[in-house]
Amino acid sequence: MTTAAIPPNFWTSTRRSFAATIRRDGFGLLAMIVLILVILGPLYSVVLWAFAERWQYPSLIPTQFGLRYWGETFSRADILRALPFSIVLALVVTLLSAVICLPAAYAFARMKFRGRQLLLLSFLATNAFPRFGLYVSIAVIFFRLNLIGTVQGVILIQLVNTLLLMIWIPTAAFQAVDRSLEEAALDVGASPLRVFIQITLPMVMPALSAALLLTFVNTFYEAQGALIVGLPRVVTMPVLMYSLINSQLVVQYGAVVSFVLWMPSLLLLLVANRLLRGGYLTAGFGV
C-alpha cells in the first residue's frame, strides 16, 4: 500500500482556507497568536541564544550571531562524556524495561489471576504521588545498598519511572487483540509461539513501538532520579544541564545543550510518524 501522498494543491488550498478563516474568525486568530507566543516564544529564545555570540539588552535579536559557543560547548569534557552516556543509558533502560514489562503486560492482558486489577493499579501509584518523595525514600534504601553514585542505581531508579507506560500501553494493546484471530491461526495449524510472533505481535506493534519510543524519550530527559541517585559520579545530560544553568556561567551553554536535547525527541517523533503511517498498518486497519 502507498502512504497517502500530499496532493499537489495542498499548500495553495490550505493557504486559501487559512485566509478565509482569518477573515471570518478574529478570535481564532487571536488565540493562534497567543498560542504561538506561549509555545514558540521560549523555543525561539533558546534557538536565538544558541546561535548568539553577543546579545545586549535592548536589542530584540542577538547583536552578533555565530557558532562560537557550539565549539566551546562541545569541547567541554563533561558534555562530551554525558551526551553519549545518556543515550546509551536511555537505550539500556528502555531495553531492560521492555524485557521486564512486556511479558508482564501479556500476562495482565491474557491471564486471570487474583489481584490482577490491584497490581495493575499499583503501577499508577508511582505516578500518583509526588515523585520526589518516592525518590528520596528510594535513595535512602540505595544508600544502604551502596547504589548511590552508581550506574546500576541510576538504571534502577529510571526503570521505576518507565513501569507505568511500559505496562499499561502494552496491556491495553494485547487486550485489544481479538482472541478469535489467534484461534483462527491455531486452527490452520500454527503453533502457539508462531501465533504470537506472526499474528499477535504485528497487531500490537504500533502500540508497542509507541510505548518504547515514549519510554526512551522520557528516560533520556529524566533528571530528578538521576540527580538524587547518580551524583556525584554519574552525570546524565539533563543533570548536567541543571548544573550548567544553575552555575550561570554563560547562557549560551544552556541554550546549546537544550537545543541538542531536543534532537532525540524530534527524531523519534519523525520515526513514530513514519511508523504509524507505515503502509500496511493504515491499509490493514482501515485507518
Binding site: 484461534e183 483462527a184 486452527d187 490452520v188 495449524g189 500454527a190 508462531r194 500496511y280 491499509a283 490493514g284
Partner: protein, 359 residues
C-alpha cells in the same frame, strides 16, 4: 473427509454445564446442523471439536481415531467463525496461504491452491486486498476459502453468516451447500436460525441446555418433533394442555380422540397452524367454534389468529381462503400430536369433512 464421533462429550465451566454428555455421530460427507436457542452450548460443542476447549469428560474421534488430546493446531478440522477473523495485517492471499506455508508447500503449489480456493468462493482477483477493503460477506467467503484450502477432514462453521443481511445470508448458505456437496466434505454448521438448518442440513441435532433433544432429518424434525421442546422450538406450533378421560382429550370447546397408548391424565396437544382447516360456522365434530381475531397477508399464504374456547390459535390459510376479521367460523383439527410424560409423541390424522372452506 471422515466420520466424526462424539462420545459422552461434556463441558463444565465451574457450576455451569455447557455441554452435557452428548453422543453424536456425523457420517462421512454429511452436512449436520446444530440448532438450538442462545446459550444451549452449540458453540462450546463446536469449540471442543476444533480443539479450543478441553472436554471435561468424553471423547472426540475423527475417522475412528481419538483427537481429544491434540491441540487445535494438530487437528484435521477447520473452522469458520461468527466474527470476522481475517488477520488485518495480511492480504487476502496471505490469509489463505498462511496454513499452506506452515505445511511447507512449494510456492507455486501454494499460489495455485489459493487461486483455486478463491475461485471456489467466487472471489478470484481479490488476492491483493486487505480485509478492511472487503465487505462482510466477502470477508466470510475468504474465511471459508481459508478453511477449505487446507482440505480439512471436518469443516466447522459457527453461525458464519449471522452478521450478514438476510439476502446475502441466503445466497451464501446456498453457495456453501453447493461447495460442500462438490467437495463431499463433512460439515458441522451451528445456527440458531431454524430456517437455515431446515434448508441446509442432511440431519439436524436440536440442542437444549447442553443436551441433544433430537437428531433427525429436517422433515422428520418438523413433522415429528420428539419432545415438547423441539415441538415448540421448530416452526410455529399451537401447544395446548388438557386432561384425558375415557379415551377423549378434553380441550375447552372440543374433544379429540386420544390415540392408543395414551393413558388418562395430563397431556399436551401440539397442532401445526397448517394442520387446521376452516369450516362454516356451526357445530362440527372435532372442531372449535371460533372467531377470526386477526388476519395477516404474508404473500403466498395468510396467517390468522382465531379466538377459541381453548384460547388463541394460530392457523395458516391459502391465499384464496374466504375469511374476514371478526367473522365466525369453525376450526377443524386435521392432524395433531399428543405428548405425555416425556414419551415420544403419538400422531393422529383425520379426514377433512366435505364442508371444508379451505383445502
Amino acid at each position: 473427509m471422515a466420520t466424526l464421533d462424539l462420545i459422552g462429550l461434556t463441558k463444565r465451566f465451574g457450576s455451569v454445564t455447557a455441554v452435557d454428555t452428548v453422543d453424536l455421530t456425523v457420517a462421512d460427507g454429511e452436512f449436520m446442523c446444530i440448532l438450538g436457542p442462545s446459550g444451549c452450548g452449540k458453540s462450546t460443542l463446536l469449540r471442543m471439536i476444533a480443539g479450543f476447549e478441553m472436554p471435561t469428560e468424553g471423547d472426540i474421534r475423527i475417522g475412528g481415531e481419538s483427537v481429544t488430546p491434540l491441540g487445535a493446531n494438530k487437528r484435521p478440522t477447520a473452522m469458520v467463525f461468527q466474527k470476522y477473523t481475517l488477520w488485518p495485517h495480511m492480504r487476502v492471499f496471505d490469509n489463505i496461504a498462511f496454513g499452506l506455508q506452515l505445511r511447507r508447500l512449494p510456492r507455486a503449489e501454494i499460489a495455485r491452491k489459493v487461486e483455486e480456493a478463491l475461485a471456489l468462493v467466487s472471489l478470484s482477483g481479490y488476492e491483493g486486498r486487505f480485509p478492511s477493503q472487503l465487505s462482510g460477506g466477502q470477508q466470510q467467503r475468504v474465511a471459508l476459502a481459508r478453511a477449505l484450502v487446507l482440505e480439512p477432514k471436518i469443516l466447522l462453521l459457527d453461525e458464519p453468516f449471522s452478521s450478514l443481511d438476510a439476502i446475502l445470508r441466503v445466497r451464501l448458505r446456498e453457495e456453501l451447500r453447493r461447495i460442500q456437496r462438490r467437495l463431499k466434505i463433512t460439515a458441522i454448521f451451528v445456527t440458531h436460525d431454524q430456517e437455515e438448518a431446515l434448508t441446509l442440513a442432511d440431519r439436524i441435532a436440536v440442542m437444549n441446555s447442553g443436551r441433544v433433544e433430537q437428531l433427525a432429518a429436517p422433515t422428520q424434525i418438523y413433522d415429528n418433533p420428539a419432545t415438547l421442546f423441539v415441538a415448540d422450538f421448530i416452526g410455529a406450533m399451537n401447544l395446548l394442555t388438557a386432561q384425558v378421560r375415557g379415551g377423549q382429550i378434553a380441550l375447552d370447546g372440543v374433544a379429540l380422540d386420544a390415540p392408543d397408548g395414551v393413558r388418562d391424565g395430563a397431556v399436551t396437544v401440539a397442532i401445526r397452524p397448517e394442520d387446521l382447516a376452516l369450516l362454516p360456522d356451526g357445530d362440527h365434530a372435532g372442531a372449535w367454534r371460533a372467531s377470526v381475531e386477526q388476519i395477516s397477508d404474508l404473500g403466498h399464504y395468510r396467517r390468522a389468529i382465531l379466538e377459541t374456547p381453548s384460547g388463541m390459535i394460530k392457523i395458516y390459510l391459502p391465499k384464496t381462503a374466504a375469511a374476514e376479521e371478526g367473522s365466525a367460523v369453525s376450526a377443524f383439527v386435521r392432524r395433531y400430536l399428543v405428548y405425555q410424560d416425556g414419551a415420544p409423541p403419538r400422531e393422529v390424522t383425520r379426514p377433512l369433512p366435505a364442508q371444508a372452506l379451505t383445502v
